[in-house]
Amino acid sequence: MHELSVTENILEIVTRHAQQADAKRVVRIHLVIGELSSLVDDCVQFYFDYLARDTIAAEAQLVFERVSITLRCPHCAHTWQPDSADWTCPACGKAQATIQAGREFYVDSIEVE
């Protein structure tokens, strides 16, 4: 359900930047989505096609750059990508990991004509 409101946000950001650049048409939209954010790509493209149909971004293709979770251990400086919800450091065994990447949720760039 909330993908609809998220898609409205994406469309608003994209059309604003495209108009500022005097673009005629938006061809592609590059999104950066961390693994810890919950957007599901297929339905977002579906919502987008519907919402954007009468706009400068009609038929634009959404391109998702997925960012894996990257953790860093403050004790031994080890960085790794966890394969489970146990975020204990595999190098030193301490459980103090900080999130380096995985919460991204932004419009990176647009391709326009």
Binding site: M1, H2, S5, V6, N9, I10, E12, I13, V14, H17, A18, A21, A23, V27, R28, L31, L36, S37, S38, I69, S84, A85, D86, W87, T88, A95, Q96, A97, I99, F105, Y106, V107, D108, S109, I110, E111, V112, E113
Partner: protein, 219 residues
């Protein structure tokens, strides 16, 4: 002609985050500490709020914002014990957003509130992505849901300040490994506060309530 690529670098949640910031300023201006409570349906959010309200009676002035897909059942229960409550019906929406909280805040007399509980829609995925302007985020996990929830929803467990494990009076009858559960939660979130509570027996309530008091008494 090949298309031009224009950098944007703009947060998708930027509009919500801006409204959340406005909510935060409004709350701060009235010296209200707001707590966003998130959990799955049936974890015991409303029951914990009701028990907490009774325990804080005479010590803190509470108000509650109830987020639900439909009905005013929860707000009615809160009002019945004399605590102001505003019901938000999301009409199918899976989470509260900052705009909905704004509308609810306008219906409360914030000058008469010290502590505001915001009961989010029952859901372990979506609410955590929508800032409301709250000061503190609390997740609830009930013992009958099982000890494997952190495996499935690392997003919420890694993003809250505290976790209340509810219905601990059921532990003797349920296969729930509390030590392993807590170890896993702490690996996702080393700074998290974990409380074990039963609203039936009252176990653990004092510790939870004392922690809430430290939040509102902080400068």
């Amino acid at each position: 002609m090949s298309p031009d690529r224009i950098p944007v670098i703009e947060r998708i949640m930027g509009a919500n985050d801006e409204l959340a910031l406005q909510n935060r300023r409004m709350l701060d201006a009235h010296h209200v500490h707001a707590i966003n409570i998130m959990a799955s349906p049936g974890a015991g959010k409303t029951t914990l709020i009701l028990s907490t309200a009774k325990a804080l009676q005479g010590r803190q002035r509470l108000a509650v914002v109830e987020g639900d897909v439909a009905s005013s059942v929860d707000a009615d229960k809160v009002r019945a014990i004399g605590v102001p409550a505003v019901q938000i019906n999301t009409g199918g929406g899976c989470h509260l957003d900052a705009n909905q909280l704004r509308e609810a805040l306008e219906q409360l007399n914030l000058d008469e509130v010290d502590l505001l509980f915001i009961e989010n829609v029952g859901n372990l995925i979506c609410p955590v992505g929508f800032a409301l302007g709250e000061h503190t985020r609390v997740a609830i996990a009930s013992v009958p849901e099982g000890d494997d929830k952190p495996h499935k929803y690392p997003g919420i467990y890694s993003a809250v300040d505290a976790l209340v494990v509810t219905k601990v009076d059921l532990l003797p009858w349920i296969d729930f490994d509390m030590a392993e559960f807590q170890r896993l939660v702490r690996s996702l979130n080393p700074d998290i506060r974990i409380f074990q509570v039963s609203c039936v027996t009252g176990e653990g309530m004092a510790e939870w309530v004392n922690w809430l008091l430290t939040l509102t008494q902080a400068p």
